[in-house]
């Protein structure tokens, strides 16, 4: 814990010290770091971290990433730093609550269809009453407060799928009928497949939320593979994904723009390719060790505090810092899958697989997008990006993983 917090306090202090005096600073900015350290330690002890009730690797990594997220917010958008801090505290509190209240994650399995229905309802609400932010109609607003339902739907869907697949049992994995030359997939798998395709496409078409659509489908495929052990399903799913991609490239402008700007952002440097080109400039300017926190010029990148926080990080901490962050996400994913391996039952395994995949795919998608390795999709960096919904949903995912881990060990 101390090792996770030290760099955060140090980083925050550096940003505080190097910040240019002409930039408006928020009141009491320096207090963010001791308060964050305090909150993290409080969460650690209340959550029973000292008694081994919190996952020993994931929790510190998450505390570190979240702390760095606050630093980045403070550095890029000082006016939002306290807000991000508040979300982090709420996230930590939820983590502790989940750890105290949720005695057995198995309880979640009982309300299997509730999660499914809740997901569909939330998405339907968003589609009906949502408002657009940054091109995607993905936000639900209540007065001054607004949140992104898809961030929570991700978790609910994973719970639902884990419960559903583990209920279906091994018997359903054996194909029984033949449809022409393919062994027909069991209806048990066809149902959720159709549901997930439907959800993904509705996200894509009705909300124009390319990132969420890809994320949902990716997590689904990962869980489907682990649950069924049938590569043919995965191949079929990947083919569907490619087909969906090709079709939407031709049908939807927003998809076409993303793909065209991925292939050649230099064709429209001042327009549609601006963001990705600016991100590449930031990466190139950062060099191996970066300009140092607070000394780069990442603010020229649009949406740098949310989706493009990785570019800012690489500019100021260089290739070394960027590689360290990649490593941390790899560690996070690794621990997630390790929890899946040691889970007490199939539901736990599938739940952990889904959550680990969720974190992994999110990190890979947005970092790959910023590096121009894959087309850019609007996905947040887990824990690092500014944004309450994303932060809280990722804390929830961490809480669930912790719960699976705890009971896995208890039963072992």
């Amino acid at each position: 814990m101390g090792f996770a917090l030290l760099p955060v306090i140090l980083g925050g202090t550096i940003v505080e010290l190097v910040s240019r005096p002409e930039e408006t600073r928020v009141p009491m900015g320096w207090a963010l770091w001791p308060l964050y350290a305090l909150s993290s330690f409080a969460a650690f002890y209340l959550g029973g971290g000292n008694k081994g009730r919190l996952e020993p690797v994931i929790f510190p990594v998450v505390v570190f990433l979240t702390g760095f997220g606050i630093i980045e917010t403070y550095r890029l958008r000082p006016d939002l730093a306290w807000r991000q801090f508040a979300w982090a505290v709420i996230g930590l509190a939820l983590l502790v609550l989940a750890s105290i209240l949720l005695g057995d994650y198995g309880d979640l399995q009982r309300y299997e269809y509730l999660w499914g229905v809740l997901s569909v309802a939330l998405l339907a609400l968003t589609i009906a009453f949502g408002k657009s932010v940054g091109g995607a109609r993905a936000w639900l607003g209540f007065g001054r407060f607004s949140f992104e339902p898809s961030e929570f739907v991700k978790i609910f869907i994973i719970i639902f799928l884990a419960a559903y697949f583990s209920d279906a049992g091994t018997a359903l994995m054996v194909p029984t009928r033949r449809l022409w030359w393919i062994r027909a997939p069991e209806l048990a798998y066809v149902g959720p497949l159709i549901l997930m395709c439907g959800l993904s496409f509705s996200l894509l078409i009705l909300q124009k939320d390319l990132g969420a659509a890809f994320l949902f489908f990716g997590v689904f495929l990962a869980m489907l593979y682990v649950a069924s052990g049938r590569p043919s399903y995965i191949i079929f799913g990947l083919l569907l994904l490619i087909l969906g991609g090709v079709v939407s490239y031709h049908l939807f402008d927003h998809v076409r723009v993303r793909v065209d700007m991925w292939i050649n952002p230099w064709s429209d440097v001042d327009g549609r390719g601006y963001q990705i080109v600016q991100a590449l400039f930031a990466l190139g300017s950062g060099g191996i060790f970066g300009s140092g926190l607070g000394l780069g010029h990442p603010s020229v990148i649009p949406a740098v505090e949310t989706d493009f926080v990785f570019a800012s990080l690489c500019e100021e901490l260089g290739l070394a810092g960027g590689a360290a962050i990649i490593l941390l996400y790899l560690v996070l994913t690794y621990r997630g899958f390790k929890i899946a391996l040691g889970a007490r039952d199939e539901f736990g395994s599938l739940l952990a697989t889904g959550l680990a995949s969720l974190l992994g795919i999110q990190a890979l998608t947005i970092m790959g997008g910023v590096l121009k390795l894959v087309p850019l999709t609007g996905v947040t960096m887990p824990f690092l990006s500014y944004g309450g919904s994303s932060l809280i949903s990722n804390f929830l995912a961490t809480g669930l993983l912790s719960s699976v881990a705890r009971q896995g060990r208890a039963d072992a």
Partner: protein, 517 residues
């Protein structure tokens, strides 16, 4: 194909390995972008960091040799002397944070630094020094070649206020520059003054020039001006050198020993070159002349005979020794002076082979002997040639930036060490050519460049060109005994070198050498 039998644990492990490879791929992608594309991206013209970094630094000043400020930042407080920036202060240019002082003609050396119109001159060539950044700011050599090491941004040293760039000290003498500018007046052309012993550029004026303090105002006019005020005629203007080139022909004649001081040539006022008549100025017949009198009188007929005796190939070789067809290293870009290539061995004394190639060579050689045809030279280069004769046959590398000093403290960070560029002729040849040039001023076409009580060496030129009246040239140095300055003057379409360029040279030399007295 179906691994229905595999345990769920195996499948989870397999899934994780997919993630692991994806993360490894991501890290490789990041390393590729930073390591291999980093330099390109960091220095890309569209990368706003370049401007942002510049704005965050107090750009260094540019100073003359005597410490006078030539370029500074706005608002600019000069510590002691009161000097108004040239140009209308009320209509100051808002697109630039720079203020320029001193003679307007310095714009071609000092250049300008403007948000919209970019950078030129020393402002461009020494940009990284003026910003106090390592060269790596623009190009990182890198610890491992191609794999740029470290950040390409200044390590923003926190100081009180902005970090300061370095100051640049030029070799320019502002008073001499002002005299050169005034002597040239409103005639298109250039005046270059060098220190022959070091290669230092003491003054370099080019007309037309423009006011760097009013770039926003004058820009629309100067981009349309047919006389191209942007061009630094001293370094970029390529002109036929005309009779000034005879310095090189005479040097070749003496160095090779092909022509003795008593060899006599007969000038009947014109000479036949493959049916084409080339005459002396005004068609005057100079009669019996030797090399000295031929140079003093600028006799074309005699020099064509001299060149024939030397031969095209040897002459071409000497032109190259003097810097023709070679890049001239300088702090600013210099156009390469040109001398024609001869197809075969130049016909020495009218050889037998009268093929087309030989005829072409004969024509080329006759024209080259008098600096016409395809021979082209820059005024800076001609001043260097005069310097080489003045400096006992050693041509020094020209330079205009003498020092880089740390902004604020004034500590010298770098000092130019004069360097030899070439040795086109021997000491004795240089001395002999010098005597010929002294005679050319004392009793020849260059008499208007002469100073009382001081011997001046020089050569006039009246270069025919397709654009109208001939270009007037004067190239020389003084005092002949112990040369302190070398000069090159050209007035485009000015007429005769002796009557137009020589007086300009006289005025500049007079100021340069007698100011102290």
């Amino acid at each position: 194909m179906y691994d229905t039998g595999t345990r769920i644990q195996t499948r989870i492990r397999r899934l994780f390995s997919v993630f692991m490879w994806a993360f490894i791929g991501l890290a490789i992608g990041l390393a590729y972008i930073v390591g291999w594309r980093g330099d390109y991206l960091a220095t890309h013209v569209r990368n706003p960091r370049q401007i942002a970094i510049e704005k965050s630094i107090e750009r260094g000043g540019i100073y003359a040799a005597n410490g006078e400020a030539l370029a500074g930042n706005r608002p600019f407080q000069k510590p002691h002397d009161v000097q108004r920036p040239h140009g209308d202060a009320a209509r100051r240019d808002e697109g630039s944070a720079r203020v320029y002082f001193g003679p307007t003609s310095l714009v071609h050396i000092v250049g300008y630094n403007h948000d919209r119109y970019g950078k030129t001159g020393v402002e461009l060539a020494f940009n990284h020094q003026l910003l106090g950044l390592p060269r790596g700011f623009l190009r990182t050599p890198g610890l491992i070649p191609g794999l740029g090491f470290g950040s390409r941004q200044p390590q923003g040293v926190k100081q009180r206020g902005k970090p300061r760039g370095n100051d640049i000290i030029l070799t320019i003498d502002p008073q001499l520059q002002a005299v050169a500018e005034a002597a040239l007046g409103h005639r298109n052309g250039a005046v270059v003054v060098l220190d022959p012993a070091t290669g230092a550029v003491l003054a370099s004026a080019s007309y037309p020039a423009f006011d760097a303090n009013r770039l926003d105002v004058v820009w629309p006019d100067i981009i349309q001006d047919p006389s191209s005020p942007f061009i630094n005629r001293a370094t970029s203007g390529l002109y036929p050198p005309g009779s000034v080139f005879k310095i090189i022909v005479a040097s070749a004649a003496i160095e090779t020993g092909l022509i003795g001081p008593n060899d006599i040539f007969v000038c009947s006022g014109s000479i036949d070159v493959n049916g084409r008549k080339i005459s002396c100025p005004g068609g005057r017949a100079h009669g019996r002349v030797n090399l000295a009198s031929a140079l003093a009188l600028s006799c074309n007929v005699a020099f064509i005979q001299v060149a024939r005796k030397i031969g095209g190939k040897t002459l071409s070789d000497f032109a190259r020794r003097f810097g023709f067809n070679r890049e001239i290293p300088f702090d600013l870009h210099v156009n390469e002076s040109r001398f024609p290539a001869f197809r075969g061995e130049g016909s020495a004394g009218g050889s037998a082979g009268a093929g087309d190639g030989a005829r072409d060579d004969e024509n080329l050689l006759a024209e080259a002997a008098i600096g016409q045809g395809t021979v082209l030279a820059t005024p800076l280069h001609m001043a260097m040639i005069a310097s080489a004769i003045a400096n006992r046959g050693v041509m020094m590398r020209p330079y205009v930036v003498s020092q880089v000093r740390r902004g604020g403290s004034g500590e010298t960070l770098w000092r130019y060490v004069p360097a030899r560029l070439a040795r086109p002729v021997s000491v004795s040849t240089a001395a002999k050519v010098k005597d010929l040039l002294v005679a050319a001023v004392e009793s020849g076409t260059g008499w208007r460049a002469g100073l009382d009580g001081m011997s001046v060496a020089g050569k006039t030129g009246t270069a025919q060109n397709p654009k109208g009246a001939p270009h007037a040239w004067f190239v020389g140095f003084a005092p002949a005994a112990n040369p302190r300055v070398a000069i090159s003057v050209i007035v485009e379409n000015g007429g005769a070198g002796g009557s137009v360029a020589a007086p300009i040279a006289r005025r500049v030399l007079d100021f340069a050498l007698r100011r102290e007295e």
